[in-house]
């Protein structure tokens, strides 16, 4: 008799679990401390919206409250991860903007437009022509293009070949360093050129591009064994955050230091503030959630690298973040390198070329950036 009663109560298990679920979520939401910053999303989380008669009556409180709740949901990361894995296993690999690939690679899906490419290349070519300074263009291919064999069977095409074709057509007098075949060859030799959880190239990838750069400019690259290589663990990059596939293992990040390069000075210039350092590698940044700024402290408006030992000339680099782990290799060959990030630097670069006595220019972007960048067009 007792058994039967139990059984009939348990028939309502669906409802019991539902009530427990929504009740528990409410309770946890009320008692959990609220987060301020999401390192995965690189943004501040929504705080409790302003509660006044006005905000309630114009409806803005109600609207902002949902955003607040969604940011502060109990076990938010867990839910986001569950959704990521559900999407993946229900067939929609790539729906988050990242393909989960073989060998634990998380690779950005192809960009869906290259509308800006022709114009950006033309702006750069015109700039090179107007300055008369010899200009080299180095474009990093996308991870997906180079590592195509690892991609899921059902994936959209990467447009690198088409984009390089357009770069060749519009590059004017710029010398293009095309590293596609070098990278594919190096990959076949088993080298890891790109991170598994980040969109950037690895230090080895940057080094491979550097040797190709030296070939093109008649420089002698520093051999690999002249470097001290320090490996740091637990690097979770941008594609990891985007994918929400939290169980994917982390990358290691390699920092290559040239033993003979002792007197390097680095100046980081933001607006009118200048900070001076004597190292290109900011190992303190390895404690951050985002470890990539270990190279030259990440994104800054202007960064100068001065090498008093070098007899080389003065190089200006117009770049995106792919340059950060690449440029340290060049410090060997130039007495001064000035890196300019057009996203933050809006003064005329041509004036800087004159005032700093620059004798060569390197333009270094990923192909995707060249195709989509919104700041190159302001270059003057």
């Amino acid at each position: 008799m007792r058994m039967r009663k139990n059984n009939s109560f348990l028939k309502n298990l669906t409802a019991i679990l539902f009530c427990l679920f929504i009740g528990l979520m409410l309770l946890l939401f009320l008692i959990f401390p609220k987060g301020h910053y999401s390192s995965n999303e690189k943004r501040y989380l929504n705080a409790f919206p302003q509660l006044t008669l006005k905000t309630v009556f114009d409806g803005s409180f109600g609207k902002e409250f949902e955003a607040y709740l969604s940011d502060q949901a109990p076990y938010r990361e867990l839910w986001v991860g569950l959704n990521g894995y559900y999407n993946l296993y229900s067939g929609r690999n790539g729906v988050s903007g990242v393909y989960s690939c073989d060998d634990n690679y998380l690779i950005n899906v192809p960009i869906n437009t290259n509308d800006g490419l022709t114009h950006n290349i033309k702006v750069l070519a015109d700039f090179a022509e107007s300055t008369g300074i010899s200009t080299t263009l180095l474009a990093a291919p996308t991870t997906g293009y180079i590592m195509e064999d690892l991609l899921p069977l059902n994936h959209l095409p990467y447009m690198d070949d088409e984009n390089f074709k357009s770069i060749y057509t519009n590059k004017g007098d710029m010398q293009l360093i095309d590293i596609r075949s070098t990278f594919k060859l190096s990959l076949q030799q088993g080298n890891q050129l790109y991170y598994k959880t980040d969109h950037h190239w690895t230090t080895l990838g940057a080094y491979t591009a550097y040797t190709k750069y030296c070939d093109a400019l008649g420089l002698i690259p520093t051999p690999q064994d002249s470097f001290n290589i320090n490996t740091y663990n637990n690097f979770y990059g941008t594609t990891y955050s985007k994918s929400a596939l939290w169980l994917n293992p982390p990358d290691t990040i390699d920092v290559w230091t040239n033993k003979s390069n002792k007197n390097i000075r680095v100046k980081i210039i933001e607006a009118d503030k200048t900070k001076a350092y004597n190292n290109m590698f900011f190992t303190n940044r390895l404690n951050d959630d985002d470890k990539y700024p270990v190279f030259l402290d990440g994104n800054h408006s202007v960064v100068k690298i001065i090498n008093p030992q070098s007899q080389g000339g003065r190089l200006l680099v117009i770049k995106d973040s792919y340059a950060h782990c690449f440029v340290p290799f060049l410090s060997e060959h130039y007495s001064e390198i000035i890196m300019v990030d057009l996203r933050y630097y809006n003064q005329p670069v041509s004036q800087m070329l004159l005032s700093e006595g620059i004798d060569s220019v390197l333009v270094l972007y990923s192909v995707d950036s060249l195709a989509t960048d919104k700041y190159i067009k302001f270059l003057r």
Binding site: A15, I22, S70, G91
Partner: protein, 482 residues
């Protein structure tokens, strides 16, 4: 892929109310409402419901609470007078019915159609009046129709006038069906307002129905919406098959969106002791357009049939009048869906098909093999959804051309890649739009321990819905605009 994984909640930018498929509703509003509702004494439950209804409604747009209170008071007063004079002075009672209808239609007309109307008038030569844009109070299309049904039901003697203003207010503002239906006729619910019974069995049924609705909305409709958006932006290059699958995805989105919301409404109703009538009955297994409209948004077609078509004389006054009556009803049905030409066209399109079926095609269809009847119905339903989707006539025509233009090829690599990745969901959605899952469930129900898999599945569905809502909040509920 181009799937946009928006981090901001779309519906926050677009709709201004609390939707069932939102975190606020599920985890902040619902737990205390359910708890307190079942604790307070019976006689206070309607009052409690009225209060939480207004909180629900006013969450995003508190100003419109006043409109709802106004509507409630006006219709309550009218109802009292109609009830009072119904037997003594038929003419006076009729006057009150007309007055109630005029007031309700004026509210609807002003808030929903004023902008459209000024736009239309400005099309006429020598006519320039400033175009007005008035924000559309959420659910106004639904609750004005409900209050009109009240006046008419009382007048016709189908239900007694509601003496208790709290019970009446509860009916008008009842949160489960407030913003997206089903349109509950007063006579279907008048008894439940004061004499409903909340049982554990009913509650469990409600939870199950609610979770199925939530899963339809969040796990199917939203995803089909993404597929459709991503295919639609490339409709010029998708190829013929790619575009057909695109419009199928849209058809699935709109059905699971709306049916999901109706199921959530019914489920919530059950949890509170109410019983609402079914709003959808597997519309995509229809064998004709007539069949489709017996299965799609049943509460709306019933409303129009009962309160417009039959009072106009229905089909009892000869073929000519029947055609005119059907035309009127379907013009209004189209207009009800939105103040835009394409909705009117959509209504007229179905009106025309229904007239054709009634007078011409009926015998021909009967002789057709069943599967051809299904294909016939689906093709015309899908064309209907194209008209429904595109407010811009040029875009509508160009999409239709892309459905048949062979020069675009069969399917592009982009469309194929996208469709393959959505294929498991697409197939699941197709199966879920047929009675197969429910038939399986009923077979299963015979086993004594069926509550174990049931509870497991519903809990998994809840978890996936929560995961989806927390992570993307892509949630534009299509039917709010109507």
């Amino acid at each position: 892929m181009v799937h946009n994984n928006k981090q901001t909640a779309d519906y926050l930018l677009w709709g201004d109310t609390m939707v069932f498929s939102s975190l606020v509703f599920l985890f902040i509003y619902l737990p205390p409402v359910l708890l307190i509702y079942h604790i307070v004494p019976l006689r206070l439950r309607n009052l409690f419901l009225l209060v939480v209804n207004l909180i629900f409604y006013g969450w995003g747009e508190p100003a419109f609470i006043l409109l709802m209170v106004f509507s409630t008071l006006v219709d309550y007063t009218h109802g009292c007078f109609i009830g009072k004079y119904r037997d003594k002075n038929k003419g006076l009672a009729k006057g009150f019915v007309i007055s109630s209808i005029i007031i309700n239609l004026s509210l609807l007309g002003f808030f929903k159609y004023a902008g459209f109307l000024t736009g239309v008038l400005n099309l006429l030569p020598f006519f320039t009046i400033p175009t007005v844009t008035i924000p559309l109070p959420i659910g106004i299309s639904f609750y004005t129709f409900q209050t009109m049904s009240y006046s008419i039901d009382v007048y016709k003697g189908d239900a007694p006038a509601q003496k208790n203003i709290i019970a009446f207010g509860t009916y008008v503002s009842l949160f489960p069906q407030l913003i997206a239906g089903p349109i509950v006729r007063y006579k279907d619910i008048s008894h439940q307002l004061n004499h409903r019974k909340e049982t554990l069995k009913g509650f469990t049924l409600g939870v199950r129905v609610f979770i199925i609705g939530l899963a339809q909305k969040v796990l199917i409709a939203n995803q089909m919406g993404l597929l459709w958006n991503n295919l639609n932006i490339a409709s010029n290059s998708n190829g013929v098959l790619g575009n057909w699958i695109g419009i199928i995805a849209y058809a699935l989105q709109i059905y699971f969106d709306f049916n999901g919301y109706s199921l959530m409404a019914c489920g919530l109703g059950n949890m509170l002791g109410f019983e609402f009538l079914k709003n959808f009955n597997y519309p995509y297994i229809s064998q004709s357009i007539t069949d489709f409209w017996h299965r799609w948004h049943i509460s709306l077609s019933t409303w129009f049939k009962e309160y417009v078509y039959i009072p106009l004389g229905g089909n009892r006054k000869g073929t000519k009048r029947t055609i005119i009556n059907l035309s009127i009803v379907w013009f209004l049905t189209g207009l009800w869906h939105g103040a835009s030409w394409n909705f009117i066209l959509w209504g007229m399109y179905f009106g025309m098909l229904l007239i054709l079926e009634k007078f011409v095609l009926i015998n021909f269809l009967k002789r057709l093999p069943v599967f051809l009847r299904h294909i016939y119905a689906l093709v015309f339903i899908l064309i209907g959804w194209i008209i429904f989707y595109f407010e811009d006539m040029n875009a509508m025509v160009s999409f239709m051309v892309n459905l048949v233009k062979p020069t675009n090829g069969i399917i592009s690599h982009y469309a194929l890649t996208l469709i393959i990745s959505y294929l498991p969901l697409l197939l699941a959605a197709c199966v879920a739009s047929t009675p197969i899952p429910v038939k399986l469930f009923h077979k299963f129900k015979a086993y004594t321990l069926c509550w174990i898999p049931e509870a497991t599945l519903t809990t998994i569905a809840m978890a996936l819905c929560t995961a989806s809502l927390v992570s993307q909040s892509y949630n534009p509920f299509l039917y709010f605009r109507f």
